[in-house]
């Protein structure tokens, strides 16, 4: 079974040379640490920066340069700043090549829920609804089950939706799954995790075709 860094490592392999990438908060943020050095990738943050670099050294932080998580960041050569409308023009206009975000639930139809739990304090969707409504290439990074051990890969989401029919790929601590018309197609399993265990942990329809290879991370 993978930990959060393991999930990030596996997702990093999906990042290709020349990609503009938007990373959500949580596990997705870790993906930046594992992208190959020999490819050119630019990270977009929806608060208005393209070409995000690492966190600043002490004394070099700038209140005017932050990411969507409100953390202080730096920029790399070639970076640019822009306003919020332009930022979402990049997102809605499909100029961002890959969006990686977390989720509370994903349905076998590609629906995603990740912004609201009824009865709990609702913080808001931020840019998540804009991202999932438009991105062609969305990867969800999440644990396969919740804290109570219940599957997060469902026939139908139980929580309020963030978007419908939009998730294409899911990487969990147990598996890599592609969302196809018929349901969740199992592509890879995490090291040491059996197909049977994945089946047990998946409530939605799991499609298993042939031998399922172990992830190479």
């Amino acid at each position: 079974m993978l930990d959060k860094n393991g999930i990030a490592k596996r997702i990093a392999k999906e990042v290709q040379d020349g990609f503009y990438v938007n990373l959500g908060i949580g596990i997705p943020t870790l993906v930046a640490n594992y992208v190959r050095d020999d490819i050119e990738v630019e990270f977009q943050s929806e608060n208005g920066v393209l070409g995000m670099g690492p966190f600043p050294y002490e004394g070099e932080e700038d209140a005017d340069v932050i990411n969507a998580g409100k953390q202080t960041i730096t920029t790399l050569p070639g970076a640019s700043f822009f306003d919020s409308a332009m930022s979402f023009s990049m997102i809605r206009g499909k100029h961002v090549d890959l969006t990686i975000l977390g989720a509370m639930e994903v349905a076998e139809t590609g629906d995603i829920a990740n912004w609201k739990i009824p009865g709990k304090m609702v913080k808001g969707m931020g840019g998540a609804m804009d991202l999932v409504a438009s991105a062609e290439n969305i990867i969800v990074a999440m644990m396969h089950t919740n804290k109570r051990g219940e599957s997060k890969l469902l026939k139908k989401c139980t929580l309020p939706l963030t978007g419908v029919g939009c998730v294409k790929k899911i990487v969990t601590n147990m598996a890599v799954i592609e969302v196809v018309e018929q349901g969740f197609k199992l592509l890879e399993r995490a090291p040491g995790v059996s197909v049977e265990a994945i089946k047990q942990a998946t409530e939605g329809h799991l499609i298993i075709e042939g031998t399922i290879p172990e992830m190479n991370i």
Binding site: S45, E46, N47, G48, V49, P54, F55, P56, Y57, E58, E61, D62, A63, D64, V65, I66, N67, A68, G69, K70, Q71, T72, I73, F81, F82, D83, S84, A85, S87, F88, I91, R92, D111, M121, V122, K123, G124, M125, G126, G127, A128, M129, D130, A133, S134, P160, L161, T162, G163, V164, G165
Partner: protein, 233 residues
């Protein structure tokens, strides 16, 4: 040159009154109109509707207006990190409308650009689209979202001149340019008021036509919400 300069925040906020709708720039605490907010607290006006991506933290930004119970309604995309906000929201004292961040930006921009509404794919099929007109374009569904109507827009820029021209810095730009000219009166506060003619016309982000009043903010705290550092090797 049409002079937009006013001497201080008191002059800049002339005309604000109870029950008005305000737009306020900023993302988190970055690029918020600190001086305008501080003066709204001093004026003590209330029953306000505030359009702002976030709602500040307990003791800074819009949190200061929340503490004094001056806000009736917030229209935002994300409102975490604020206990008083949470208390007022759960008790029903505060009305909160949560909308997608890109929709928030575009509803400002539509108001700025004289467009009554826009179609966006964001929120289709979710509770955000409930009761709203939807329409199919090229096989995809979109939601009709209306331009905001606001009395004042309070924005913060890095540099400005008497003509009202503005230049923003870093990610403190965010919603500020989209709110300029999107309300009946746009009030810009700047860190640096530079002599007319010193800003390169090629580099101006917002032309002065979108700004009615400009002033130099007396004090800027520019608080960092999440100081995150890298260790030196």
């Amino acid at each position: 040159m049409i002079n937009k300069k006013v001497n201080n925040v008191q002059e800049a906020l002339k005309g604000v009154t109870n029950g008005m709708t305000f737009m306020l720039g900023g993302f988190g605490l970055s690029g918020i109109p600190e001086n305008a907010i501080a003066h709204l607290v001093t004026l003590g006006i209330n029953q306000l509707t505030c359009i702002s991506n976030n709602a500040g933290v307990d003791d800074f930004g819009l949190g200061l207006l929340l503490q004094k119970k001056q806000i009736k309604k917030m229209i935002s995309s994300y409102v975490g990190e604020n206990d008083e906000f949470e208390r007022q929201m759960l008790s029903g004292e505060l009305d909160v409308e949560l909308i997608p961040q890109g929709t928030l930006a575009e509803r400002c921009r539509a108001a700025q650009a004289g467009m009554p509404a826009i179609y966006t794919p964001a929120g289709y099929g979710t509770e955000v689209a409930e009761g709203k007109e939807t329409r199919e374009f090229d096989g995809k569904m979109y939601v009709l979202e209306h331009a905001f109507k606001a009395d004042f827009a309070f924005v913060k820029a890095w540099k400005g001149d008497e003509a009202g021209n503005l230049i923003f810095k870093g990610t403190a730009r965010n919603f500020n340019p989209n709110m300029c000219g999107a309300a009946k009166i746009t009030v810009a506060e700047v860190e640096q008021m530079v002599p007319l003619g010193t800003l390169d016309p090629n580099q101006i982000h917002i032309p002065g036509i979108f700004v009615q009043r400009i002033f130099k903010g007396a004090v800027y705290e520019k608080r960092i919400e999440q100081l995150t550092l890298r260790q030196r090797d």
